[in-house]
């Protein structure tokens, strides 16, 4: 309500212009990728006319379909797990008097950011191989836990940034009204924290989707993700079937999101 009136107050000169340019720049390569998914040629960079060949090729290529499916499963699992853990850790380490070991927790959580992937990958290879030998389990669990670990800082930092200095009055008020701790958390803290959690979950999701090296080292047979599928082709020519898959994924996302927004708007 206040917002409509003080629109000019919240406006920073140039912010709208810059952000529009950012959106254009963000989507320009995406447009290129969509265009090349309809390429008749064999290449992701040489235009050979319009065709649906690569959609057909992708559809017929079990390996690329399987890789897409594995990517989505791992990213969803890792994003949910890491966001839940990061939210708890953020609640535990923010807005409290400093305690002994706080720095330790902070360093631990951010550690995955500081080591080049290859190092964690080699170390994890030995650990997972030992577990695989001992248990015989070769499922997606290894990938999900490993991804969740390096996604934790990506989820934690936005949530913590949101929590820091978040207004305590509402929570205190709730407590004064004899709300239980859990009630206070669910009804007051969590909704206030939601934008941070959403931001963190999205970052975790895309971070997991992009991971190559760690996945390459700990995947079991048949667990190629889209990035490792492409990495394997790096020394050979890339094929546009991955463009076709990516375009389909984008289209699907947009449809789902639009549906989601239309539905929520109607309810209001």
């Amino acid at each position: 309500m206040a917002r409509a009136r003080d629109f000019s107050v919240t406006e920073l000169p140039g912010a709208t212009l810059v952000s529009m340019l950012v959106f254009v720049a963000l989507y320009a390569p995406i447009l290129v990728l969509i265009v090349y998914s309809f390429n008749a040629g064999e290449s992701v960079a040489v235009w050979g006319g319009l065709s649906l060949d690569w959609y057909r090729a992708a559809w017929a290529n079990d390996q690329v379909k399987e890789a897409t499916w594995v990517s989505l499963k791992v990213a969803t699992g890792a994003a949910v797990l890491s966001t839940a853990l990061a939210t708890m850790a953020a609640l535990g380490t923010t807005r409290r008097p400093a305690f002994r070991g706080q720095t330790f927790v902070y360093v631990m959580i951010n550690q995955p950011l500081m080591v080049p992937e290859i190092v964690t990958a080699v170390a994890l290879l030995l650990v997972t191989a030992a577990i695989k030998k001992a248990t015989g389990y070769t499922g997606l669990g290894y990938l999900i836990v490993a991804h969740a670990a390096f996604c934790i800082p990506f989820a934690y930092l936005p949530i913590r940034a949101r929590l820091e200095g978040m207004d305590l009055t509402l929570e205190t008020a709730a407590a004064d009204l004899y709300a239980s701790r859990w009630q206070t958390f669910r009804r007051v803290t969590l909704p206030l924290l939601m934008p941070g959690i959403l931001a963190g979950a999205m970052l975790a999701f895309v971070t997991s989707l992009d991971d190559v090296v760690i996945t390459e080292f700990i995947k079991s047979p048949g667990q190629d993700t889209l990035p490792t599928y492409m990495l394997g082709q790096l020394r050979r020519a890339m094929k546009p079937d991955v463009n076709a898959i990516s375009t389909l994924l984008l289209a699907l996302t947009l449809v789902l999101l639009s549906a989601f927004f239309l539905l929520t708007r109607k309810r209001k």
């Binding site: 390459e216 080292f217 082709q233 020519a237």
Partner: protein, 341 residues
């Protein structure tokens, strides 16, 4: 009679169904396995093949060595076959289970890394040389001078693939040494020449096919299959075999010691030595295979390709890029690091 045939057919389809339980796990370079050939194999034997990709010999070896990799067959390059064997990671092949073993071309039978082919079956082979756009440069392209001492026309438009082993092998042979040279005089010449040449390069990148077709590069160190793909997209691209010596490589299928699906693995190994199937592999990966008689089944555009069929005059200039160790490796890594610092 008809009924008997019908019953037999039913029985056979029944056994095929039983076979369908079978699985096979292949660990290979990406975009290197013909899907059509795999489909044919799966239909013939009812075995489900799962392909998993690797991006380098070193990664593949590290994973297999760590244990419990879950793969049955791996496709390492020539120099790595011996390492797998030495570490006890692969098993000796029972040749009686491989009737098509006789199809291996004579020149690929007694190879230095596996005399008699008791450990490894040929997959694909090729060379590392120069791709040059002949519109930019009309001089001799059969020389490593293209990147070691670039002619003026090419300066600033050359790419070198970021592959230490292949590039160092070319450079060492250019300087008059052997592939894994430990001779300080040779290696000093290699280092000085590379450092002097680098400012004349444009980039060190893998995507040579597109960039040669689009004419972003005028020349590049290249693999022969990529060179052929580039020529098919742009007729001005020609492939040179450096007369100072060029690199040869071959990828081979090996059977892991801890393979779980050994019988299916033998079926597969024998299957790919069938000339028709070997040709299907080549048609997809765009490299030559080592199977005699596969020429008849090769796609037309590969039968006479100068990139695939090495011209006789350069046949003896090719040297296998072995895996260097010790002092030779120390030289290479140090020079490679200094080159890219």
């Amino acid at each position: 009679m008809k009924r008997i045939l019908g019953a037999m057919a039913l029985l056979m389809s029944g056994t095929a169904m039983a076979h369908a339980e079978g699985e096979l796990f292949l660990y290979n370079w990406g975009n290197y396995t013909s899907p059509e050939m795999i489909k044919k194999f799966e239909e013939k034997y009812g075995v489900k093949v799962t392909i998993t990709d690797f991006d380098s010999n070193d990664t593949a070896l590290a994973k297999v060595e760590a244990g419990a990799s879950g793969f049955d067959l791996v496709v390492p390059s020539a120099g790595f076959v011996g390492i797998y064997a030495e570490k006890g990671l692969i098993q000796k092949l029972d040749l009686s289970k491989l009737p098509n073993h006789k199809n291996i071309a004579p020149e690929w039978m007694n190879v230095e890394w596996d005399p008699g082919r008791e450990w490894s079956i040929p997959w694909q082979w090729g060379s590392t040389g120069m791709s040059v756009n002949v519109k930019d440069y009309s001089g001799d392209i059969n020389t490593s001078d293209i990147f070691m001492n670039p002619p003026a026309e090419l300066v600033g438009k050359i790419n070198v693939i970021p592959e230490m082993g292949d590039v160092m092998a070319l450079a060492t042979m250019w300087a008059g040494g052997e592939v894994c040279s430990e001779d300080p005089a040779v290696m000093k010449k290699v280092r000085d020449a590379l450092l002097a040449a680098k400012p004349k390069w444009m980039s060190m990148d893998y995507s040579t096919v597109e960039k040669m077709i689009n004419h972003d590069y005028a020349a590049t160190v290249d693999w022969n299959g990529s060179a052929m793909r580039a020529r098919l997209g742009n007729p001005d691209v020609a492939y040179g075999y450096p007369k100072e010596g060029y690199g040869l490589w071959m990828d081979n299928v090996v059977l892991l010691a801890d393979a779980k699906n050994v019988d299916n693995a033998y079926l597969f190994l024998d299957f790919i030595m069938e000339p028709e199937n070997a040709a299907a592999l080549s048609a997809f990966a765009r490299y030559a295979n080592g199977i005699a008689g596969s020429d008849a089944f090769m796609p037309e555009d590969m039968k006479a390709a100068p990139e695939i069929i090495t011209p006789a005059e350069f046949a003896d200039k090719g040297h296998f890029v072995t895996v260097c160790t010790g002092k030779a490796l120390e030289y290479q890594t140090a020079i490679w690091t200094e080159l890219q610092k």
